[in-house]
Symmetry: C2
Subunit: 360 residues, 2 copies
């Protein structure tokens, strides 16, 4: 079967998928439903979107954007169930703060206020909760947001795993940028803000179940400063921003391709991956493009603004390792293609299954 | 020991407590830390407030109120871990929507938008998730709010209890009412919007662990319409509103007494309790004043406006059983006193321990 025939078949499959209503085939929730890939998308569309359907939820972006009392606001939430709770480079606390800060930032909003809901397991050490809270406070200070409201629930032993944290956040849209994965157009450039996969690999290794040692720490970081730098340089030329968490860069690129009806062509050589991450991924048999980051974003900008955008990202400490990794094309619509180092082309689908459970 | 000596001692204890910094004595989280009573307050003050300290969080109201882009907003969150997930009168879904709607309403805000974060246990039936989502959608429609953003995480079997939901909400303050438990003044009247304790008793009985049968259903309901009716009638005279969830009416009254430095004197006879709830509470050995409601609020209003406030509440379907239950006095400050049906007076302290775990 030639590459073209294969692509044709995939295209037809995507068309069929679009025409039928999303449907969850499984009778019970599986780990894959939480992995951020195909099963998560189906669950969201078939259950939550189907029940809650409204114009603000429908775009399924990282946050909702709306007007209230004359202000234009962004609003988002994320639950955190990462295991272990503490890992090289961070913990569930700064992860939960940075994650919500980043979801607001990629909506184009300035993050202002966060909420924090805790589900604690009976017997959880109070000292660990103090460490997590201190880490949240530091992360909030670094991102210039305040944690202004919260809630605490306790469940019996064996009904949680120490501590789960759900943060929500409110941000202010100060410029009229309308960002969204559907806005990508042929000719646009695709950038990533730094080396990919560090957070996911760190978590896998921190569990100590694998006999792999590597000098990797989580990339968890607040992206609002980096987004502000990018907007200041090429604000009008930015089509969409997404932080590459569960499902990794590959899943984001697929969302862009699907939503905008475009092709995304990525040069494998251009994707920054630090050697220890690449090594660990090879041993684990995972593609780093599918591994979660918690302080990296994908930016799609007008092709002509690519170099200015790259310079703006590289001028910020969190974007020092930024790279232009690909281009948006018109054909084949809905697909992400990877040009490999050996001159071949393969299709990069959304994540299937859950190779890395509970990484955030 | 006379009543006066006892009160004097309690007062001195409260003064000492205020002077020393809140400190969690336990090394590990206990169920009481999630019960909404004394242990929860200590945990919040000693761990979360200590770490996150900022002027918006400090009042420890049900939500934070702030300005953003010219709008005056309220923002709140609550995590739900109720067991069982489905119970007479509701389920975790409408509970989570109503709870956040109510927290915004008692801040004086009109609830607008909600977020929903799900933590699902591997193996949870998809059909149950559909029921919960449908129930959330109905509750949102009834309260005229939209669920505009969300997140789903999945944890392994034995790391949760089916489904936990965290909602957050954004509301708009359309009038300049500054509500807060610290605003209660001597001479004010204390009202409850209906019979108390129905939700908590329903949950206890729904677990089927007790050999008690009673015709009780949860009072879960959105309070925004009722609050609007009260504000339309006596808006300027309302000092504070609180929905009486964990810890019940008794805990709310203690928060008022403590924050405002006043006494709250409650007439036991005046507190509406439906007979099956009273009966179940007697068998369980719990005071209904400590049992959670999920669709009732405590309102403190200027004494002269008490009858108008009562009429406004009673004029709304959710306030048909409203009652004036007590008065605010200046002495003894910080205490809640119950005048019993037999002419005695006893002190009603905040909830200690957790007689009713995971009721919301």
């Amino acid at each position: 079967m030639t590459e073209t025939t294969r692509e044709q078949q995939v295209l037809e499959r995507i068309d069929r998928a679009r025409q039928r209503k999303a449907r969850v085939r499984e009778e019970r929730i599986t780990m894959a439903h939480g992995a951020g890939g195909k099963a998560t998308q189906t669950l969201i569309e078939a259950v939550f979107l189907d029940a809650f359907r409204n114009p603000l939820l429908e775009p399924l972006e990282d946050g909702a954007v709306f007007g209230a009392g004359g202000a234009r606001l962004a609003f988002t939430t994320d639950s955190y169930v990462v295991s272990p709770l503490f890992f090289p480079g961070g913990d569930i606390g700064d992860l939960a703060v940075n994650g919500t800060v980043n979801d607001l930032s990629v909506c184009g909003a300035r993050p202002l206020y966060l909420s924090a809901g805790f589900v604690l397991e009976e017997g959880f050490p109070v000292e660990d909760l103090r460490r997590i809270s201190a880490s949240m406070a530091r992360a909030a200070a670094a991102a210039e947001v305040s944690i202004v409201t919260g809630d605490t629930k306790v469940v019996q032993r064996g009904k949680a795993d120490g501590c789960y944290v759900t943060t929500a956040g409110v941000g202010l849209l100060e410029r009229d940028a309308r960002l969204g994965v559907a806005h990508a157009r042929p000719g646009d450039a695709v950038l990533v803000s730094g080396p990919v996969g560090e957070h996911g690999v760190t978590i896998m290794l921190a569990r100590g179940e694998l006999d792999i040692e590597a000098d990797v720490t989580s990339d968890t970081a607040p992206l609002n400063g980096l987004v502000a730098a990018l907007q200041a340089a090429v604000g009008e030329e930015v089509r969409c921003l997404r932080d590459a968490t569960r499902g990794g860069v590959a899943t984001i690129l697929n969302e862009i391709a699907r939503a905008a009806g475009v092709a995304v062509v990525v040069e494998e050589d251009a994707v920054p991956v630090r050697p220890p991450v690449r090594g660990a991924c090879e041993l684990l048999g995972i593609d780093p493009l599918y591994v979660a980051c918690e302080g990296r974003m994908v930016a799609v900008v007008d092709g002509d603004a690519a170099e200015s955008a790259l310079a703006a990202l590289r001028g910020h400490p969190l974007g020092a390792g930024a790279a232009i990794v690909g281009r948006v094309r018109d054909d084949p619509p809905g697909l992400v293609l990877l040009k490999t180092a050996f001159g071949g082309t393969r299709i990069i689908d959304v994540l299937v299954g859950d190779p890395l459970p509970r990484i955030c």
